[in-house]
């Protein structure tokens, strides 16, 4: 049982290693417009994907503690790396508050959508190296075959705004060539930055491959969970998300626009 009272008015806490989780904020806003969202982006310590498991688990605990101060009714782990390597740490730290990770949401959706039973997954080095998507997909159905591929340049290319750039296409062609001859029919975007590059990924993958966006998957799962527990906010006011970051770099405003498609609201700077 959670240590604090939970009601439909309680906020949903969302965190990520940086700004990438804003694709999750955007998807949750679209699916559940009345919910109050509190987002923490650990911009001082981003990226997590290149760090060791010990460090990632420490950060996951601290990030969760930060959100718990706001007495959330649900915590969404928008960071694939944390979902892969430290979801248990988040659950322990969250007490009885339910926790959803992008990873399992994406894995469930992919397992439900594939027809050929052959699924590709792309993500950061740490997410892919953890084999967590493979495990999560095969927990859904152990007959499924999973083909993982780390794509470390996609995050910096997205953050540089190289959305339609020929260099992005070359890099994507090289990364996605890993799936040649694998006959996958489903490709999971296993990193919250990747929806930014969705068009180029989709055009190289081709129309026969279904793209699974974990951000959309987690938003839809959040709605189901809140409805089942009767704590869905059924109001009709739409609130701006409450944004917290651990550092406010020069490029933040620009990146916010890139991810959210709107101007940056007020941001709270917090220490970690």
């Amino acid at each position: 049982m959670p240590q604090h009272k939970i009601s439909p008015d309680s906020p949903i806490g969302i965190f990520d290693s940086g700004i990438g989780g804003l694709t999750v904020v955007k998807a949750v806003q679209a699916a559940l417009p009345a919910e109050r969202l509190i987002y923490f982006g650990d911009t001082a310590r981003v990226p997590y994907g290149t760090k060791s498991q010990v460090t990632i688990r420490k950060y996951a605990r601290e990030d969760t503690e930060l959100l718990m101060k706001h007495q959330p009714k649900l915590i969404i782990v928008a960071c694939n790396t944390v979902s892969a390597l430290a979801l248990d740490v988040v659950e322990q730290t969250a007490g009885g508050v339910p926790v959803i990770g992008v990873l399992r949401a994406g894995a469930e959706l992919a397992a439900g959508r594939t027809r050929s039973g052959r699924i590709g997954v792309i993500g950061t080095q740490a997410t892919i190296g953890s084999h967590a998507y493979t495990c999560a997909i095969q927990e859904e159905n152990d007959a499924l075959e999973v083909f993982p591929k780390a794509c470390p340049l996609f995050v910096p290319l997205a953050e540089e705004g190289f959305i339609d750039h020929p260099a992005t296409r070359l890099v994507a062609e090289e990364y996605l060539a890993a799936f040649a001859g694998k006959a996958i029919d489903t490709l999971v975007l296993g990193c919250t930055h990747y929806p930014i590059l969705r068009k180029v990924i989709e055009s190289i993958a081709g129309p026969q491959i279904t793209i699974i966006d974990s951000a959309e998957a987690v938003a839809s799962k959040a709605g189901e969970l809140l409805a089942a527990r009767n704590i869905l906010n059924r109001g009709d006011e739409q609130a701006l998300p409450h944004l917290m970051v651990s550092d406010l770099p020069q490029k933040f405003r620009e990146l916010y626009r890139l991810f959210m498609g709107t101007e940056l609201p007020d941001v709270e700077l917090v220490g970690v």
Copy 2:
């Protein structure tokens, strides 16, 4: 005056935000083979280049404190971002121990080499945004014209080992196009990762442009400073560098090989 005794046997402390500073270790080893080198790479908090000045200055103090425990005779700031935004913090924390930053060393060498008086500088967003190279070069000679250009994708491309990759060439062509019509004759590699991509940068820049590698510049300046103070180590034994990192990610061994051209020696994991 330093709080500890300094002798020719004292080590040289070198730090960087991550592994990039190993290009400085390599250059110092080549120039001063008898020196004992202690390197700290803040791999848990890399990169600094995308963070705010407040955060960078905090990290700079902590990194210097860590090296000071080893009673160095000299501290080399291998990180361009710290050299640009927090060299004063390092100097304060180092007490009387001399401090050399890659930035000033590179700026001095560039100012000495240019004939046309027109110098290009490439680096991370934070280094370029700080205008620190421009200031440092114009402090040498205020008639010099400086053309800075941020190249945020060069670090991830280097770390991905995309040394000769067509995508790297496309990205470099786009970044270096900023110097078209500027008639520069000298180009400063204002980030310790960039020597890894030196060949592609050099081939796009063309033979009429002199490339200034700040790592080589800082190594030569270190030798002059130690000789002038009579604390050069004139022994003939070559020691392996003592390596400390704040995190030991999966890719570290591979990156070490990429930067140093040798296998990874023992590494000490330290907390920050």
